[in-house]
Every structure is written in structure tokens, then in C-alpha cells.
């Protein structure tokens, strides 16, 4: 929406949906899904070059006019993540990085100590750092304090599709943050994304929910609309939740009938 831009560091985006590229069955399916999603920023991973590879995700992004956001997926230590980020900057000519430092392969949860260490180093090195973090309000605050341009708390484990397990933590993070809060990981379907936006997230990042859906392009459209709907609902200001009903029709001016008549 032209009057409601997302600003991260020095860039603005009209789409609040950041896409990943992992899990798509082919580059053709990926391209169709990315186009339908309306995304303007999409992640890639850095891996050893494969001389036999045909086609490239970079060509897809270039063709679609989508900005590339390298990540440090697969890094377990701050050192690995910093080196990977520096390589991505060299390879792709961007100082933006989605910083991931995971603790173990079973949960893929962030290692908060290594993450904070890497974030601080990369910020000092001139990077625009978008860290994948736990849904921990204290850690989110500390990442912001060391200069991260956004914080990207997980709703639930990567690829789990379990949605936002702790909406209250998201509210606490959003309430204190002075940088964009971006749901990262856990979205399974459109309602998860709408909830994130309703809670005040500035954007949503997802991959698996689209790339592994039975119809990726259709789910990409659903996610685009869910982001927009959730954002509008957040801006509109929802009604408070009540324990009891509150009539929406006036009680005044009702006709006076014999409650037993007419018979039916």
C-alpha cells in the first residue's frame, strides 16, 4: 500500500511480506510463487558452488526485480556467521544480512549468546543486520541495542507450521521495539500471518508455508492478502475482547409485543 510503507534501515518497501526460497520443488514454481506473493525482499543461502547447477535463484530474483537478502543459515557459531555474512556481501554486493546462528539441528532454535555476539560484530562492520531470534523480549531489546535494523522473532520452530506459540511475547516485543519486528519462522497458513500483523509486526518472513504448500502460488496469494488484511486490522484498531455479549442493535425503540403472540 503506497501510503503505508515498510521502512527498514535506509530502504522502504510497499510489500510487508519477506519471502524465503528454500523448499520449492523447482525454480519455475518458486518464481511463480514469488511473483504472486508481491514480495520485494527475499532470502537466499550461501553454499559451496556446484559446477553442475542449472539456473540460479539469483537469476530468478533479478528477473522478478526482487531484492536479495542473504542469510547465514546453517551457522552454529558467531565466527561462522560473521564469515558467511562477509562472503555474502562480497558475492552479492549487499551489506544486508539475515543473521541466523542456530543452536542445534533438531530445534533450529537460535543460540542467543552467539547471535548477539555476531550481531554486534556485523553492525560494527557496517552491516544492516536482521537477526532471526527467539521470541524473547529481553533478547530482542539487546539486539536492538547493539544496532540491529530489525528483530525477527520466531513464532515457532522453522518449518513447523505451528504459528505463533506465544502471542503475548510478540506483544511485549512490539511494545518496546523501536525497530521493525518481523515474524520469522513458524507461519503455516494465512491466519498465522494475519495474527502476526494484528499483533503489530511490521512484516512477516516465511518460506516453507508457501514453497511446500500443495499449490505454492495459491498460498503465496493467500499470504499476501493475509499480510495486508492483518496490517489493516492493526491500523484500524480492534475492539476490546469482552467476556459477555454487547448488543450491536439498539435496545431503545423496540416494538412492544405480547411475547406469546403471534403463535407460529
Amino acid at each position: 500500500m503506497a501510503d503505508d510503507l515498510l521502512t527498514i534501515a535506509d530502504r522502504t518497501f510497499s510489500s510487508r511480506l519477506i519471502m524465503g526460497t528454500g523448499g520449492a520443488p523447482s525454480l519455475e514454481v518458486l518464481e511463480q510463487a514469488l511473483r504472486t506473493s508481491g514480495t520485494e525482499l527475499t532470502t537466499v543461502a550461501m553454499r559451496r558452488i556446484n559446477p553442475a547447477a542449472r539456473g540460479s535463484v539469483l537469476e530468478v530474483l533479478q528477473r522478478c526485480g526482487i531484492g536479495v537478502l542473504p542469510n547465514t543459515a546453517g551457522c552454529f557459531t558467531a565466527g561462522e556467521a560473521v564469515l558467511t555474512a562477509r562472503l555474502s556481501r562480497e558475492a552479492l554486493g549487499t551489506n544486508w544480512v539475515k543473521l541466523e546462528v542456530i543452536a542445534d539441528e533438531r530445534t533450529l532454535l537460535p543460540d542467543p549468546i552467539e547471535l548477539l555476539d555476531a550481531a554486534e560484530t556485523l553492525v560494527d562492520d557496517g552491516f544492516v543486520v536482521l537477526p532471526y531470534t527467539n521470541d524473547d523480549p529481553v533478547l530482542a531489546r539487546k539486539l536492538e541495542d547493539v544496532g540491529c535494523a530489525a528483530v525477527m522473532p520466531l513464532g515457532s520452530p522453522i518449518g513447523s507450521g505451528l504459528g505463533i506459540r506465544n502471542p503475548h511475547n510478540f506483544q511485549l516485543i512490539v511494545e518496546r521495539a523501536n525497530v521493525p519486528v518481523i515474524l520469522d519462522a513458524g507461519a503455516g497458513t494465512a491466519s498465522d500471518v494475519a495474527l502476526a500483523m494484528e499483533l503489530g509486526c511490521a512484516a512477516v518472513m516465511l518460506a516453507t508455508a508457501v514453497t511446500r504448500a500443495q499449490e505454492p502460488a495459491l498460498m503465496a496469494e493467500a499470504m499476501r492478502k493475509a499480510v495486508e488484511a492483518g496490517r489493516l486490522a492493526h491500523r484500524a484498531g480492534r475492539i476490546p475482547k469482552r467476556f459477555h455479549a454487547e448488543a450491536s442493535s439498539p435496545m431503545e425503540g423496540r416494538a412492544s409485543f405480547d411475547p406469546e403472540a403471534p403463535a407460529f
Partner: protein
């Protein structure tokens, strides 16, 4: 003799025997003709593309050559 001696490198995790004096640029070109989107590290230090030609590899060097793939 020393210039022609074979050196043993690790390139993307694979042991390689190459002629002494081989440069990083030559090793990268052997794997990829891509003019961009590729970065290289030697022994955990990034070597900018502008220095690949001038970077002569030494015996036991560990070379990593990366590019962007689907992920995240």
C-alpha cells in the same frame, strides 16, 4: 623447480593437487564461469574478487568458494 612443484589444497572440502603458483582466480574459474554472485575465502579469510588474480595459493590452503542458493 619450486614453482613447478605440486601443492595440495582443499577446495570446497575436496583434496586437490595443483601446480605451484596457482592463483585463487584460476581455481575459481575452474569451478564457475559466473562473472558475479561468487565469493571466496582462503583459510577463513574473505579474499575480495579484485585480489583473486594476485592471490597465489600455498600448500595446505583451505579454499571455500560460495554462491547463493535457495534457502531461508
Amino acid at each position: 623447480m619450486t614453482a613447478a612443484a605440486t601443492i595440495r589444497l582443499t577446495v570446497n572440502g575436496e583434496a586437490r593437487s595443483l601446480p605451484g603458483g596457482v592463483t585463487l582466480a584460476e581455481v575459481v574459474t575452474g569451478l564457475s564461469a559466473a562473472p558475479s554472485g561468487v565469493a571466496a575465502a582462503v583459510n577463513e579469510a574473505v579474499v575480495p574478487r579484485s585480489q583473486w588474480d594476485a592471490t597465489v595459493l600455498a600448500d595446505a590452503d583451505r579454499v571455500e568458494i560460495l554462491t547463493a542458493v535457495q534457502g531461508g
